[in-house]
Amino acid sequence: MQVKVKLIGAFRTDRFKENIAEYPDGTRVEEIFSQLQIPKRALGTVLLNGLHARLDDVLNEGDTLTLLPILGGG
């Protein structure tokens, strides 16, 4: 299946802004997240098709996954 992955802020450094790639059916958010080698402590929010989602959510064909750093305050 095809999934679009969007990265926000510092996550883009040495990675990409937006990338469409093929993943096996049943892939979970956390599998893509760990492939990207982003430190877990830096992850703030996961959006799936614009809605808040969790790392153990399963992706579907055509989904857009957005990974956001933690919102810092002040």
Binding site: I8, G9, A10, R12, T13, P39, R41, A42, G44, T45, L47, G50, L51, H52, T66, L68, P69, I70, L71, G72, G73, G74
Partner: protein
């Protein structure tokens, strides 16, 4: 601070803090060791000052009975990372109820002044009355204990915050400084004066790299008292860092708390500036007076775009490994670093940039620099100007003041300068008063008279119960955006339980970035108190003290004449919902009515007797 107990929660009176009370009218000084009333007193900061403010009925911020209280937190000047905070408290000239009475307020900043102040041996300085002549206050360490002196300060009049600090540094090379700018000196016309706090970096580089205690006009109150600066002169007295505190400090750096704020080169988010990217994902970056347009315009001030043209350097306060400052300098054609411009923290950058329709980094930087040099709170200043621009946009046939509109840099710059010089009370007295004068209050973005920080109110109904700056005293600003919570139960719990604990940092002397997610009721803080002072305090005791301090703040607001109806968001939020913000709507009239009911049901019984 004298400690005659190891159990301050059970025996607070056995902890005594050292206070100097200065009568500015007579010059009389009184030094006292004051026994603590409770754990809030022991922790310090606003936890202590609000108890003293509660003992006075003040109807006008500019009166002799309104004190200016300068104090530190228990951990200020300790080996714990970020332990640099100084607190300025008093009844605020800018934040007030519709009944016309000023709210109790505190403001805080880092830099090294707080640690130096603590190392003089003083914990608290209370200024009573006002001085006839401009003075600066020298607080110095002597063999006989801390000594306070009032010194003539005519030579400092009219200087910028930075220039005052530079002038004083010539005279006191081993000291640190807290100074107001021209805005604070013009306290009659400017209620948003800030206090600048010197940093090591500033004193070494001679560049205007201060930190600020900006909120609530404490710089204007200092100006009213005719105090232009404070000088804290002492040796550096940092103790040896114990193994326990080393572990805590490492956790501050490596743990989740500060990751987002560390430099990008270290895998962090690059300071608070990173909020631009995160909020833009929801189209929730304030644009043109808090009306995001659902477009890419805020991206112009994204770091990745600014760094193409400007040099960005991550810097830090004394000994702080979080390194949250992003200092922006001009960049030469050959990539060399040019003139230092300003620091890019999220709030000033947005509120003096995108939210005014200013999208060029250099222009935003110049406005921030001006606000800092005049010593004005960039949040109150930016939001008051954005209100004016919105008014002029709605009334093109009859604009007010200089007719500035969104994006008109030259005219906005003129407004900032004139406000700083005390020539524009319409701006200097804040958005609540300006909007009352125009009669169009619905799009003035303040809550309880204090301007909102750069988080859309649509994302944070918790602002209504914040007791100081909206984001520094109620950590609900990420509950919807970051955590995705849009149900009533989560919001009631956030406001009445876990998110109010953020105010604890403004008691104990630490930056919020020490552990922004958890507050101060943590084992890390318990370990620091044990190691630094041999105090045994439980996390539950700390959390209970923080809650009491917060509730005291709410009770003080009600006592100063706020009605419950004033605990509300700007009317535009519910009257004209912004469909561009890509988040669930949690500010409908129905949701807010339910939230108010349930929050007050929890808070109200606890407020009874809290000021006795």
């Amino acid at each position: 601070m004298k400690s005659l107990t190891t159990d301050p929660a059970a025996n607070p009176a056995a902890i005594l803090y050292h206070r100097c009370t200065v009568d500015l009218k007579t010059g009389e000084l009184r030094y006292t060791d004051v026994p603590c009333r409770n754990l809030e007193d022991v922790l310090g900061g606003f936890g202590r000052s609000f108890q003293d403010l509660a003992m006075r009925q003040i109807d006008n911020a500019y009166c002799d009975e309104n004190p200016l209280i300068v104090n530190t937190g228990l951990l200020t000047g300790s080996t714990a990372m970020t332990a640099l905070r100084t607190y300025f408290s008093g009844y605020s000239p800018i934040k007030g109820s519709k009944a016309g009475r000023p709210a109790a307020m505190w403001s805080t900043g880092s830099g090294k002044f707080g640690a130096k102040f603590k190392w003089t041996g003083l914990d608290e300085l209370i200024f009573e009355n006002r001085s006839e002549q401009p003075v600066y206050v020298l607080i110095k360490e002597t063999v006989a204990g801390p000594q306070v002196e009032l010194k003539p300060a005519e030579h400092l009049l009219g200087l910028s915050t930075h220039a005052k600090i530079m002038a004083l540094q010539q005279e006191y090379p081993n000291a640190h400084f807290a100074a107001i700018g021209p805005a604070g000196e013009n306290w009659q016309q400017n209620y948003m004066g800030a206090v600048a706090l010197s940093t090591e970096n500033q004193l070494k580089s001679k560049q205007d790299k201060c930190r600020f205690a900006g909120r609530g006009g404490m710089g204007s109150l200092m100006g009213y008292k005719n105090i232009l600066a404070l000088v804290a002169q002492s040796r550096d007295k940092l103790g040896k860092v114990s193994e326990a505190v080393k572990k805590v400090n490492l956790n501050v750096i490596k743990g989740g708390g500060s990751a987002r704020l560390q430099p990008i080169s270290r895998g962090g988010g690059g300071g608070t500036w990173a909020a631009y990217d995160v909020l833009q994902a929801f189209h929730a970056v304030p644009v043109n007076n808090f009306r995001p347009q659902g477009n890419a315009i805020p991206e112009k001030l994204f770091r990745e775009n600014v760094e193409k043209e400007y040099d960005i350097k991550s810097e830090a306060c004394y000994r702080c490994g979080i390194t949250c400052h992003n200092n922006i300098s001009e960049k030469g054609a050959d990539g060399s670093k040019g003139e230092f411009l300003a620091k890019f923290d999220y709030e000033p950058l947005n509120l003096l940039g995108t939210n005014l329709g200013i999208h060029a980094a250099g222009e935003a930087a110049r406005l921030i620099q001006l606000a800092d040099n005049y010593g004005m709170d960039s949040i109150s200043l930016g939001v008051t100007i954005s209100y004016l621009l919105a008014y002029n946009e709605r009334h093109p046939e009859k604009p007010i003041l200089n007719g500035a509109t969104f994006g008109d840099y030259e005219k906005i710059r003129e407004l900032v300068i004139k406000a700083g010089e005390g020539e524009l009370p319409e701006i200097g007295r804040g958005s609540m008063r300006l909007s009352q004068a125009t009669g169009e209050t619905g799009y003035a973005y303040h809550v309880k008279g204090l301007e909102l920080p750069a988080y859309q109110p649509e994302t944070n109904p918790g602002y209504a119960w914040a007791i100081a700056g909206g984001h520094m005293s109620m950590a609900t600003y990420g509950l919807l955006t970051r955590e995705g919570k849009s149900d009533l139960d989560s919001w009631v719990k956030g406001i009445t339980q876990n998110k109010l604990h953020m105010v604890g940092f403004d008691m104990i002397g630490l930056c919020k970035f020490f552990d922004i997610a958890n507050g101060i009721g943590t084992q890390m803080v318990v370990d620091c108190l044990k190691s630094e002072f041999n105090l045994e305090v439980s996390t539950d005791d700390i959390r209970a003290a923080v809650r009491r301090a917060f509730l005291r703040g709410l009770a003080l607001e009600l006592r100063q004449g706020y009605t419950k109806a004033e605990f509300c968001l700007p009317a535009e939020v519910s009257e004209d919902p912004n469909s561009h913000i890509n988040l669930p709507n949690i500010t409908s009239s129905e949701f807010i009515a339910q939230l108010e009911k349930r929050v007050w049901e929890i808070f109200e019984p606890e407020l009874e007797g809290i000021l006795d």
